[in-house]
Structures are given as C-alpha cells and as structure tokens.
Symmetry: C2
Subunit: 190 residues, 2 copies
C-alpha cells in the first residue's frame, strides 16, 4: 500500500537486528488520518468475509483495530497480556514469545466474548515470526470460532511468520512487506 | 452522559473493593459505536481549547483515545508501561501506582512527541485515585507543554482522584461518575 510504504520510507528508522521503528506514526505516536486509510484498506481486502469481530492484542494493536472496526461495523476484542484483578472467570489463554521484548507471556481473552458463531479478523501492527498471531489463532480455535484472516500493517518479510501463515492457507493481508537490502537499508516486496 | 450511564447499568458489573467491570463494551470487548459517541462528547466538552495532541496510557486508553482523536483531527500519543527494545533515546518517565493491578510501574513517552507548543488533552477509560493521570500530567509538565484538561469515561466518585484534580483547577470532564450506594449497588452523581 503506497501511502504506508511512503510513510515508512520518510519517517521509519531501521535499527540493528531487523527492528523497524515506526513510532512517529503507528505505535507510540499515532497518525489517526493514516490509520483510517489503513482501516479502509483492510475493509476492502476482507470485504465479503462476514467478519463479526476484530481480535487484536494489547497494546499497539488496539488503536489500529478500533479505527479499522469502524469500517466493518463490528466490536473489537483485545487479548490482555498481564494478570489483572479485572480479568477473572472463564478465560482462554495461550503462551506467546515476544521477539521485540525478548520474553514469554500469557495472553488471555474472556470466553464470553468469543463464540462458535463468530467470524474473526485478527488485526495487528507488525508481523515478524508470527508468535502473537499464533497465540491469537489458538484462542480463536479454542472458542470454536472461524478465523477469516489476518490483517497486518507491516510484515517483516525477512522473518518467517508471513511465509508460515500463507503456507497454512490462511488469508493474510500485509499492507507493507519490508525486506532488508544488502547495505542494511529496507525495500518493499512486490 | 445518559447513553454511557444506561450501558453501565445494563452491562456493567460491580465487584468487591469498588471495582467496576465494563469489559463487555469498554476495556476488553469494545463497542466502537458507543465509543464514537463518547469521542464526540469529549470533543463537545473540550471544543475551543485548541487541543493539538491527545495523550493516553496503554492499554485500555488507546482505543478510546484513537476514536476520540478523529473528532479533534489530532494525533494520539500513548505512554508505554514496559521496557521495550523499541523505546530508546530520550524519554520522559514518571512513576505510577496501579490500584487495579496492585503494583508500581514506570511510564515513558519519547521526548520528540511532546513539545512546548503542544496543548494536550489526556483521555483515559477510568479515573479512581488519579495515579495514571498524575503520571501523565508530570510528563506533560516535563515537556513544557500545556495541559488543556482530562477526559474520562468513568470516574469512581467514591475515590478521591476527581476531587483532587478539580481542586487544582484542572478541567476534568467525566462522562459518568459512579457512586456506591448503601447496599453495594451503584448510582450516578449528578
């Protein structure tokens, strides 16, 4: 998606270890006009799938999921990462390893918010090794819901999450796919 | 705000210790249509303040802030709670005690996203003792920015955060203010 690729080139920063900083517009400061364009594009790419709910994971996926949900007319559910007095009762859980944060954590979704009738679109800001996605997919399966697909703002094409997800026949749409070039810069996959 | 009070009465759950669960529409599952109404109301109450940026704190404030920001036409910045490889360089930090989670944590905002020219509206889902607010206010002050006010979805009127903030002359708007009645139920302050 050209508007996003252009913004990554103008405002993104590439750091060692394949970390892409887009914190000026996507996941610390958030350009809501841009994110509306992304949401509209997710709607276009998943039109006709009968999505009933958008599922994401805290924290940086939430804003993107909420803006996107407006184009689908459905609620958002976000998986929680931490223990909290506010999350009790029956929950689905799954274990996730964070590449960026270098640790494992448990994600949780209250069972009452996912049902076998739900058609779930997973939305997140980044896809690298796919750990967060597979945790969310596990929860969708536990609920007996249908996974319509996954919409990602920025996929790191030089890591294997995207290839793995596509090889499973899952409908994955990444609005920008970043590859590393020889001199440590970035380029976009076609 | 009647639409929010009605929803709290129909779908909210009061637990021991003054914890109000609104996870079916506000902070786990999110009713985006309702949150659009809240965002529109925040705009009405802070019209004319020249807000340049909305500041919130991860995780449950982010979605509400993003929807609200559409009505102001400004970006969102969310304070981060955890260490991350993605947050380096110059950051403002402040210490916050979480009532709900029963622990202290550090919040961080990259310095480049707040400037002395900014007029900041703080948005959050809940106000209880005001700990998160005072951490965010501290960061606004460190940046030399102007605090226009704070917009809260649900204030716990039986805790002292709201009184304290109002006593400082800060423009606080809470869309619903909950009081506890004698038999452990809830009612709304006028």
């Amino acid at each position: 998606m050209k508007i996003l690729e252009d913004r990554i080139m103008s405002d993104g920063v590439v750091k060692d270890g394949g970390i892409i900083k887009v914190d000026s517009f996507l996941n610390h400061q958030m350009d809501i006009s841009l994110i509306n364009e992304l949401g509209r594009e997710f709607r276009r790419r998943f039109a006709g799938d009968g999505v009933t709910k958008i599922l994401t994971i805290e924290a940086s996926g939430i804003g993107i999921a909420c803006i996107t949900a407006q184009y689908f007319g459905v609620p958002v559910v976000f998986a929680k990462k931490c223990d909290s007095k506010n999350l009790d009762g029956d929950v689905y859980t799954s274990e996730v390893t964070s590449y960026t944060k270098g640790k494992d954590y448990t994600i949780r979704v209250a069972k009452k918010f996912l049902s076998p009738d739900d058609k779930i679109l997973i939305i997140d800001d980044f896809l690298a090794k796919g750990k967060a996605f597979f945790g969310l997919k596990d929860i969708v399966q536990q609920a007996g819901a249908t996974l319509c697909g996954v919409g990602i703002c920025i996929e790191k094409g030089f890591q294997d999450g995207g290839k793995l997800i596509r090889s499973m026949g899952i409908h994955l749409e990444s609005l920008a796919i970043i590859e590393l070039d020889e001199d440590g810069g970035i380029k976009f996959a076609k």
